[in-house]
């Protein structure tokens, strides 16, 4: 049964084993109407009937079956006229939903009432078993008196729900339990006088399982989600939340789905939060006032017009820059410092892609100022088109028109267009692609910028010519007994761009890009058109690969490259020194995965001019067993990062696994996050104890949290879901994150929302 739980650890033996002689129940016959239509077959060692209207007595291994129902008993009394029956001795009952063994059963067929006493039951459609003193069935209603329910193997310690009385309405699909006690092992843990629960997996409005946690920041934190099944294609979840030290919060998520697209709206709102009052100066220093009404909303939606055009929207808003810090409990959430909302119409064709979109930034971090926020692009239109023309040429253009707005900084419009013509010549083992482009960029500046820079509409236009050439060599080698194809791929990239004085051009979205392998083959060193480098440079690079011949998997890919600057590159952004004539830093990359379980990625940059390392990073990931993972990584980037990160989820044996992370920054001599946790999981019970220290706020002081979570599989879990937190901290905690195995939610053929990488 796929009810979302992992029953992998459960032994196959059932509490009530299958009856060898019973026909396999077919689901289709299990509805009351189907049962009423089907004939009843009784079979026994001997049969007597005193007279026409007397009881029929069938004895000696009696077997009765009707539709999907099967009943085995030692002795059956049945009166054809009144429909009353009694079965005694080693009763075995089975239908599409369950199996029961009991001592005695009686009932009235015509009135469809039945009574089974002193029984053990085993659900077959869902995982679950237990016993009851008595079951009374009246058509669609059923009552279990003195019953127990669990999903555990009887031989293993687990949990058990014991209820004085459970009334079930099969048509409504709901059950009501009265004075129920929940036991873990022998210890009664929870007593509930009355609670209603679903008995089948129909979508219906009702309570979901609460999540309860305790923390010094929130006090007792009780989230009680309520699911609202509004319509087949839209539903909602309301989540009232009580935090004893802070107050009441209402959260809600609304989901909709329709033929052309879908969307989700998520919101949280808190009328007055007592937290700021407890530490007023933190807020006054950065905001000048105490926020009381606090909230957040997020909207993601998509609409597919046709094969070519589609629309996407990802909007977000927080009420104050302290919100993320005060309402999140993971380093991942705290690390966000701005919220980007974007919406647009996008199109893609055989040779082109285009978009008309807008995006807006909102400050979500009180240590930064509005001025440091990125520009809003309201609106932005772009077009990329590249089309082969004739037999030798390829024409194309990259164009963009943007209106930059900012709450504090100056504003402007910019138009940038780069038509190009290229001649991609290639053979089996070589390629040469000369390319000439002309870039024209024009601005319309607002008054303050015009006053500062003297020209209201500066322009810049210049040619960009480049030649990209490469060759491919191959040979067969064998390594550890396997046959590999080894490639050797030398590549040259020459770039020539004349100098244009760009001092008079302001900067909106332009900054030097991260120096990397990709940078060796780009025609500009900057992220945006506000600066176009002057260049007379040649990149020489070499890549070698080991590709397994048997299944095509690339076991090793190593490459090294460098740029030779024939002249100084004078174009800079403020605060940057010009690139001098000579050699750039060496860029070396290595991707090595000897087996499917181990992958190692390393990157290294050495600057010969200053004889220093710019970048040294290595990341290794090893997959342990079916769901374990070990990540180890060291990152050094000059003047920025010097950190080590070791994270793992290690399965010790079937039941025990340990999880941990150690993320330390040498540069700041400070621990950024450490996690230590242990998880015990049995067939029906999972318990997680996780201790965490992580940077909770911008003052950099760390927060300790200890989280105990007990999950009763089949009954929901109490305690904050720790999976989400761990999943962010340890890449690969959930195998789906690694996409190594086709994701469990592999969309089979459905046109998934285009995974917008900007999200």
């Amino acid at each position: 049964q796929d009810d979302g739980e992992d029953w992998g650890l459960c032994r196959v033996t059932d509490v009530v084993p299958t009856f060898g002689d019973a026909p396999a129940p077919l689901d289709s016959a299990s509805t009351p109407e189907a049962r009423a239509q089907a004939p009843t077959d009784i079979e026994g060692g001997s049969l007597e009937r005193a007279s026409d209207d007397e009881n029929i007595i069938v004895q000696d291994n009696v077997r009765l079956s009707r539709g999907d129902q099967f009943l085995g008993t030692d002795r059956l009394l049945y009166n054809a006229d009144t429909g009353r029956y009694t079965a005694e001795g080693s009763i075995r009952y089975q239908d599409a939903g369950m199996r029961i063994v009991a001592e005695r059963a009686e009932g009235d067929q015509n009135a469809d009432t039945h009574r089974i006493e002193d029984l053990q039951y085993q659900l077959t459609e869902r995982r679950g078993n237990g016993g009851a003193d008595r079951i009374e069935l009246r058509g669609r209603y059923g009552s279990l008196i003195g019953s127990t329910y669990t999903t555990c193997d009887p031989r293993e310690p687990g949990w058990q729900l014991r209820a004085g009385r459970i009334d079930i309405d099969t048509e409504e699909g709901m059950g009501v339990a009265r004075n129920a006690t929940l036991r873990i092992g022998k210890v009664p843990v929870l007593y509930v006088p009355w609670f209603k629960f679903p008995v089948d997996d129909r979508r219906r409005t009702g309570l979901l399982y609460p999540s309860i946690s305790l923390s010094n920041r929130n006090g007792l934190d009780w989230k009680q989600p309520v699911y609202l099944n509004l319509a087949p294609n839209y539903d909602a979840t309301l989540t009232p939340r009580l935090m004893t030290d802070r107050g009441l919060q209402l959260g809600g998520e609304f989901r909709w789905l329709y033929e052309k697209g879908r969307g989700t709206f998520f919101g949280e709102w808190m009328a007055d939060d007592e937290l700021p009052g407890r530490e007023p100066d933190r807020y006054l220093r950065s905001m000048g006032e105490l926020p009381d009404e606090r909230g957040l909303f997020r909207l993601t939606s998509s609409h597919n017009f046709n094969r070519t055009w589609y629309a996407r929207a990802n909007l977000g808003w927080v009420s104050d820059p302290h919100y993320l810090e005060d309402f999140s409990n993971s380093l991942y959430a705290v690390s966000q410092y701005s919220i980007t909302s974007s919406a647009g119409l996008y199109g893609r064709g055989r040779y082109w892609d285009a978009g008309l979109m807008a995006d807006r930034q909102q400050l979500a971090d009180y240590t930064l100022t509005e001025r440091q926020l990125r520009y809003d692009r309201l609106p932005r239109a772009y077009l990329n088109w590249a089309q082969p023309v004739g037999r030798w040429f390829e024409l194309g253009v990259n164009g963009e028109a943007v209106r930059f707005q900012h709450s504090v900084r100056e504003e402007a419009n910019r138009f940038d267009i780069k038509p190009y013509i290229a001649m991609p010549l290639e053979g089996d083992s070589w390629f040469v692609t000369p390319k000439v482009a002309w870039r024209y960029t024009a601005y319309q500046l607002d008054d303050t910028l015009t006053a500062a820079l003297g020209d209201e509409s500066p322009t810049r236009s210049l040619p960009i010519s480049s030649v990209d050439a490469g060759m491919f060599f191959e040979r067969e080698t064998s390594l550890f007994g396997d046959r590999y194809l080894q490639t050797l791929e030398p590549r040259l990239y020459y770039l020539n761009v004349p100098y244009r004085d760009q001092g008079g051009i302001p900067r909106f979205d332009t900054q030097p890009m991260t120096f990397s392998w990709g940078q060796l083959f780009r025609d500009n060193r900057y992220t945006g058109p506000d600066r176009q480098i002057d260049a007379n440079q040649l990149t020489t690079a070499l890549t070698t690969r080991l590709i397994s011949e048997e299944d095509g998997r690339e076991r090793l890919a190593a490459s090294i490259g460098q740029i030779q600057y024939f002249e100084d590159s004078l174009v800079v952004v403020p605060g940057e020194t010009p690139v001098e004539k000579g050699k750039s830093a060496w860029v070396a990359d290595l991707g090595f995965s000897p087996t499917d379980r181990l992958t190692i990625n390393a990157a290294y940059q050495w600057d010969p001019k200053f004889r220093q390392e710019d970048l040294a990073s290595i990341r290794a990931r090893y997959l342990v067993g079916d769901y374990g993972v070990i990540n180890a990584g060291y990152r050094y980037r000059r003047d920025l990062v010097d950190q080590v990160d070791f994270a793992f989820l290690y399965p010790i044996n079937r039941n025990w696994s340990v999880v941990g992370r150690y993320y330390y920054s040498f540069e700041d001599k400070k621990l950024l996050e450490s996690i230590a946790g242990i998880q015990w999981e049995s067939c029906c019970l999972a318990a997680r104890l996780v201790a965490r220290r992580y940077i909770r706020d911008r003052d950099g002081d760390l927060d300790d949290s200890l989280r105990l979570e007990i999950e009763l599989k089949g009954l929901g879990s109490a305690g904050q879901k720790t999976e989400g937190v761990l999943r962010r901290a340890i890449l690969g905690y959930e195998r789906d994150d690694l996409y190594l195995v086709p994701p469990s939610s592999l969309p089979t053929g459905s046109d998934e929302l285009t995974p917008d990488p900007i999200l």
């Binding site: 009843t40 009784i42 060692g45 007597e48 054809a80 059963a105 039945h114």
Partner: protein, 156 residues
Amino acid sequence: RSSDRNKPMDIEAGYSDYSMDDSRPTVLTGGVTITQGTLDIRANRADITQRNGEAVRAVLTGGPVRLNQQLDDGKPMDAVATKVDYDLRNEVVVFTGDVNISQPSGSISGQRIVYNMRTGQVQGGGEGAGRVKMRIMPRNGGASADPEPASDGDEG
């Protein structure tokens, strides 16, 4: 029907070997047909024993013997068996060998079934007589459409 008792019984057979006295049963072979009111029996051979001129017992064998009769409530009963031992005086029939008695409300089958025509008492199976099966048709569906609630036994 119980009224069949006082209806004329006529017997037809391919070959008959009458015996005038009670010492030896009359043997009819070559396809025997016995009818009496709504009772109708077909068999290959019939041994009928008489007591002072009145048929008291009929042992029919056939491949198989067919017996059908309309019961007091008007519903037909058809029975099939390899051997039928019919005690005419107290109307008890012992069917043996692949027996199947079917009525609109259901059917009984087994290796040995004793059926009392007058009281409706049934006894099937028992030691050495193999298992007995009974099928009860659903009340509204099934073959018989008569309004009377047929015995519709099923287990909840």
